[in-house]
């Protein structure tokens, strides 16, 4: 785990309102695994904000986001050269096993975030990678893809399969999924053994506050930031995990 005051180096739009931000963070770039996240300290919001690492490019890490609230709006307003406090890598990422075989990466919306790293790790293990990505409409689909086959899905049918990414996906030896918790609950129905990356509120990101409770089928809670954010799909008590996180209070006003 490293704590860096890291400069933003570049930004690019990859879908309607969806932007990739590059951050110069050598220590994190060198050690992060797919499914892990960074906790970013932004001027004007009190707590840090968690973001999956999207890609690594030399000494830079990338995160992908949309403006959904104060912190994300701020991050998107920052310019190259501006500094962001970057804590990571955090959490336990995907476990791809020994390889080879086939892996299906199923993502909805911003759930695309951990997938490029996962594709890279899978390829390094000699796995065949199928990339399944869904969104509301074709403009919302992340334009950057990876893998040997790409399957698109849109709710409105404007591109690819008309329906969800979960419904559009083939089976495979290994399923990795990320997206709204509601989508992950659906993935759990179809693939109990899928590895899914969940979203919760986070206080610390480092395992000390117990704020990121994930309810488990076996009873009790564990920590999305420490044991998670990646879980075996059937282990999570989806009914007890808030499917839609309510809008957070803003810290600045």
């Amino acid at each position: 785990m490293f704590l860096l005051s890291a400069p933003i180096t570049a930004k690019r739009e990859v879908a309607r309102g969806m932007v990739v931000v590059s951050i110069q963070a050598p220590e994190i770039a060198a050690t992060v695994r797919a499914g892990q996240f960074v906790n970013l300290g932004l001027p004007g919001s009190f707590l840090r904000r968690p973001f999956s690492v999207y890609r690594v490019d030399g000494e830079r890490i990338e995160v992908v986001l949309k403006a959904v609230g104060v912190g994300t709006t701020q991050l998107l307003a920052m310019r190259p050269g501006d500094l962001v406090s970057c804590l990571g890598p955090l959490g336990r990422g995907f476990d791809l096993g020994p390889g080879p075989g086939s892996v299906v990466l199923v993502s909805g919306g911003l759930g695309v975030a951990p997938m490029p790293l996962a594709a890279g790790e899978a390829r390094a293990l000699g796995m065949r990678v199928t990339w399944v990505h869904g969104a509301r409409a074709s403009e919302d689909l992340c334009s950057e893809t990876e893998g040997d086959a790409v399957i698109w899905a849109t709710d409105d049918g404007s591109r690819g399969f008309a329906g969800t990414a979960v419904a559009a996906a083939p089976d495979g030896d290994l399923i990795l999924a990320c997206g709204p918790n509601r989508m992950l609950a659906a993935a759990a129905e179809r693939w109990p053994d899928a590895q899914v990356a969940v979203e919760t509120y986070m206080g610390c990101g480092t395992g000390v506050c117990l704020g990121c409770a994930v309810p488990l089928v076996r009873g009790g809670y564990d920590r999305a930031c420490k044991e998670g954010p990646v879980y075996r799909a059937a282990d999570v008590d989806w009914a007890a995990l808030p499917a839609h996180l309510p809008y957070a209070v803003t810290a600045t006003a």
Binding site: L3, C204, V208, C212, Y221, A251
Partner: protein
């Protein structure tokens, strides 16, 4: 000139005046970044005799300059603590106090007895101020008789130092402070979180599943400082200040206001190195003012100036 930062507070030998607050540092094993040299001591996450699952999510919500939490004292219980954590603590060079909780006076006592003498446990912080459990906690914290009864019971069941963590949710903190001092507390920690609420405008109901939560962070600092100061004026035992300390300047405000030491909680979430930076900043302040040790720091604990902002007349004059 090097500044002497060591001190003994309420029977516990601390390496410095900055401790990690209960519930914000886990069991001390989670945060690898912190420079341990700077940790005066730590208080472990609040524990009950038995394991507890805690409250369902959402458990936290951000607020202006702070956060609400309702963790519900999730914890593994005394046996697991003794098995999994105390042995590690025994090898560390700073003291670990255990934050103890109960639903009844006797349960507090039993827990203290169970942990008494366990290597690695340097003392107790009695939590009579947790706002996030349906039974116990806060209820013991705002009634001087109940607060004294818990303190007295724990005092009888252990030879270790006993600190008592006060709730801010009272009309007059001095009354509670004096009650637990009389019952044998070695030190007071002021304060725990303030009860707050936040409403989700989509569901038209509280954001937290427990509905209410405890407010922490810099938002509460001026309030916590005032309460710690009032407690320090009311009792002869040391007071450890807690609430919204983010920087060395904040910690120094508590020390000047009469506290013997401070605890740092939420700051660690925002900056995992906060405790080390605060420790170093205090040392730098002392050095810049040519003060050789913490004991030389001027305190604002006037015996002659009137206490203002009091809830009740004539109850909070110094001892």
């Amino acid at each position: 000139m090097t500044v002497d930062m060591g001190l003994t507070v309420g029977g516990v030998e601390l390496r410095g005046p900055v401790l990690a607050a209960s519930g914000t540092f886990g069991y001390g094993t989670e945060v690898p970044l912190l420079e341990r040299r700077a940790l005066g001591g730590m208080v472990s996450k609040g524990i009950f005799l038995q394991p507890r699952a805690g409250t369902p999510p959402p458990r936290i919500v951000e607020t202006p300059s702070g956060m609400l939490n309702a963790i519900g004292l999730q914890g593994p219980g005394a046996d697991a603590l003794i098995r999994d954590y105390a042995p590690q603590w025994a090898s560390w060079d700073f003291p670990v106090l255990v934050n103890i909780n109960g639903e009844s006076v006797s349960e507090y006592g039993e827990l203290a007895a169970r942990l008494d003498g366990v290597p690695g446990v340097a003392g107790f912080e009695i939590n009579i101020s947790c706002p996030n459990v349906e039974q116990g906690g806060l209820y013991f914290g705002n009634d001087p008789r109940a607060a004294a009864a818990v303190t007295d019971e724990v005092r009888k069941r252990t030879r270790l130092p006993v600190w008592v963590k006060l709730t801010p949710m009272v009309t007059d903190i001095a009354v509670i402070a004096r009650a637990v001092e009389s019952a044998g507390a070695d030190a007071l920690c002021a304060v725990n979180t303030f009860v707050g609420m936040s409403i989700d405008l989509h569901a038209y109901r509280p954001r937290l599943s427990f509905r209410t939560g405890g407010l922490s962070g810099p938002a509460i600092r001026p309030l916590a400082l005032h309460l710690a100061h009032q407690a320090a004026r009311a009792v002869g035992i040391p007071v450890i200040g807690v609430g919204g300390v983010m920087r060395a300047e904040d910690a120094l405000e508590f020390l000047v206001a009469g506290c013997a030491a401070v605890q740092v909680g939420t700051a660690t979430f925002v900056n995992p190195c906060a405790i080390a930076e605060i420790h170093d900043g205090i040392a730098a302040h002392l050095e810049s003012r040519r003060l050789g040790s913490l004991a030389d720091l001027p305190r604002y604990l006037p015996r002659d100036e009137p206490v203002t902002g009091l809830s009740q007349p004539n109850t909070s004059t110094g001892p």
